[in-house]
Subunit: 195 residues, 2 copies
DNA sequence: CGTCTATTTGAATGTACTCAAAAGCGGTGG
DNA sequence: CCACCGCTTTTGAGTACATTCAAATAGACG
């Protein structure tokens, strides 16, 4: 079994011995998710957090008017869930779907709670994970408040070039909070500017 | 010495014995901040995290064009800092100013690191703090993406009624990502609607 | 009381949206 | 292998939400 990527991910922040790694891995379930399948749907109890080994997922919120807001793209080496509903074991607000054939690890809330108790270092690991997530979202709030759509698009492309290349524009637009039509216009204008 | 509020805050998530509390409190510095003073300025090294006992603070980002984006209001029982710069010990992107005379506790990064080592439960405490902050910011992203300004204003007033009452509209506008003029219009329109 | 800042109001403008239609692209079946 | 279907992207016209700028009014504070 090749647990390379997830072991590396953990080892970025904490150091586990072999026994601890074995305990951790024993709580994970490796799953293949074909493109277009969802691992969580709005309204469904959110029981798991996921680690992406390969492929790509998208988490989005669907509002009453049917408009999607993409919350995050999760590619290799990312953790993803609907955090509020996972922590509080509530019905999900978000839907998470595979946008490519993906291989992911599933960790149940009860198993995470077990890990916190059995291997205290996991508190530190998730503290750092949450900290990074908080910082990321806060930066996104700042950018949404202070930058026009075009600048936000450029930052997105700069920060996640691989996502930007492999994902539908429609989905990038919904991450930026603009319509696909307007994103199309932005890109076209920029090219004109470069002539 | 009255440490009631901060002890309550800690005790929401972890249980410390008396010795541990004493260690914790010994690392805190209680400070009075007069209205309009700043405890952190953009560009200055962010060395501390703060807990608000009383009063109110505002954290904001000032962009190149001179426009302010209010990131958060911190009132009694809240923790506040420029998290990215605190964690990485970098020059602050944010400015944090007292909008009322305030009493706060200051905790240095090095002391927090000491606490993580000396009292492992602090990992858990800050894990939960970061988790809640992440969830809050993510919800704010969703709302910024999917709701018009008027709905965001109403949610803000509903969620933080005391802040909404005591803070300048200009500052609320900069939290919502709109101009003070437009917020004024929103409020006026709503009143008309209620006649 | 006077000054400084915040809020309101209004007109002109800009950024981004809606709706509709055409063009492009990718996958699937004949 | 080509043709067709469904979905994404582009293009454009008209519209709506929010901004800018300016000026008047109201509030807060020394």
């Amino acid at each position: 079994m090749n647990h390379y990527i997830i072991q590396e991910n953990i080892s970025k922040h904490i150091t586990l011995n072999e026994t601890e790694f074995t305990i951790f891995l024993s709580r994970l379930k490796k799953i293949q998710i074909p493109r277009k399948n969802t691992i969580l749907s709005q309204g469904q109890l959110c029981e798991n957090i996921y680690f992406v080994e390969s492929g790509a997922l998208r988490a989005f919120y669907l509002d009453e008017s049917g408009k999607e807001a993409t919350i995050m793209f999760a590619v290799s080496d990312w953790w993803v869930t609907d955090m509020y509903c996972f922590i509080n074991q509530k019905p999900a607000m978000l839907t998470i779907e595979a946008i490519e054939n993906s291989i992911i690890y599933r960790l149940k809330k009860s198993d995470l709670d077990y890990l916190y108790a059995a291997i205290p270092q996991f508190e530190k690991f998730f503290r750092i994970l949450m900290q990074n997530a908080y910082i990321r979202e806060q930066l996104r709030v700042i950018q949404n408040l202070s930058l026009p759509a075009e600048a936000r698009y450029e930052i997105f492309v700069g920060k996640y070039p691989d996502v930007a290349k492999n994902v539908k524009q429609k989905q990038i637009a919904s991450y930026l909070g603009i319509t696909p039509e307007f994103l199309s216009m932005i890109k076209h204008n920029k090219r004109k500017g470069l002539k």
